[in-house]
């Protein structure tokens, strides 16, 4: 049994096994982990993402902006009902394109982990 083959892939959300496609932007470690967390939920608030990944605010913001600029992630700001100040909560989610790109990237990673010589091209 090789546990590495199908890890990290969620066909339940992606609707089937995607074609492997390596995505350099997603593959950076922090961005890969951001997408990995977002894949399983509808939305996560910025602070939860930061604490779970143990990142600095600036590092997370920078990587979210790159993902957002690529259309893979969307953010939504709202006033916090639990804060007395004017700071906002930022909700982060994967876009439809983000789900597809991440699923394809995971398929590529599995192929590489499995020794597929065709990936990445």
């Amino acid at each position: 049994m090789n546990d590495d083959v199908s890890r990290g892939h969620s066909p339940a959300r992606s609707g089937g096994t995607p074609e492997p496609e390596f995505h350099e932007l997603i593959h950076a470690p922090v961005r890969l982990r951001i997408c990995g967390l977002l894949r399983g939920v509808d939305e996560i608030e910025f602070a939860v993402l930061r604490d779970t990944l143990q990142l600095k605010d600036a590092n997370l913001s920078k990587n979210l902006k790159l993902l957002s600029d690529a259309g893979l992630v969307s953010t939504c700001k709202e006033f916090s009902p639990v804060r007395n100040d004017a700071r906002r909560l930022t909700w982060v989610s994967l876009t439809v394109a983000g789900h597809a790109a991440f699923s394809a990237h995971l398929a590529a990673l599995r192929a590489i982990a499995d020794g597929d010589p065709a990936l990445p091209s």
């Binding site: 049994m1 090789n2 546990d3 590495d4 083959v5 199908s6 890890r7 990290g8 892939h9 969620s10 066909p11 339940a12 959300r13 074609e19 492997p20 496609e21 390596f22 995505h23 350099e24 932007l25 593959h27 470690p29 890969l32 982990r33 990995g36 967390l37 399983g40 939920v41 509808d42 939305e43 996560i44 608030e45 602070a47 939860v48 779970t52 990944l53 009902p81 639990v82 909560l89 909700w91 790109a101 995971l106 590529a108 990673l109 599995r110 590489i112 982990a113 499995d114 020794g115 065709a118 990936l119 990445p120 091209s121």
Partner: protein, 164 residues
């Protein structure tokens, strides 16, 4: 096949790919640990379900008002959960949680139909407390089970039979 913007960058080795997948597994397990509903969540949901069941058996405007109140309260409950835990998760994560959700909905639908049946059978109104109590119990017990299945599917999207 590839959308790499920098084709000159060295591709990850098999070991690096495995390490990346391992990191994702660890993050998924950590996220799953955060998705434990507070004790009050399913209890409140159960009370709302009981309200809807009782509403089915009440005559006229009283029953309709009760059902409308339940419908209005459910988004507030979900909002309270999301605001507190800052994770929004409204869909099943896989086939087992989907089946569990369908089971919960089927049980609640059955209990609501029984509320209507009690009204049609002209039985004393307190009889509706029986399906209402069952509704609270089913929501709490099956709801917690749903949470557990959801967490396990998020922590391990591919259970062992599909792994090689």
């Amino acid at each position: 096949m590839s959308s790499r913007p920098d084709p000159g960058a060295p591709p990850p080795t098999a070991e690096e790919a495995r390490a990346a997948l391992d990191a994702l597994d660890a993050d998924a397990a950590q996220l799953a640990g955060r998705l434990e509903s507070p004790w009050w969540y399913h209890l409140t949901l159960g009370i709302l379900a009981a309200g809807a069941i009782v509403g089915q058996s009440l005559p006229g405007i009283l029953g309709i008002t009760m059902i409308v109140l339940v419908i209005v309260c459910i988004p507030f409950l979900m909002r309270a959960y999301t605001s507190r835990y800052r994770i929004s998760m409204t869909r099943p994560a896989g086939p087992r949680s989907r089946r569990m959700l369908l089971l919960i909905l089927a049980v609640l639908a059955l209990l609501m139909v029984s509320g209507v049946a009690l009204k049609l059978a002209a039985l004393p109104q307190w009889w509706v407390l029986l399906p209402a109590t069952l509704g609270v119990a089913a929501t709490v017990l099956l709801g917690r089970r749903y949470d557990a299945v959801l967490r396990s599917e998020i922590a391990d999207p591919h259970p062992s039979p599909t792994r090689r």
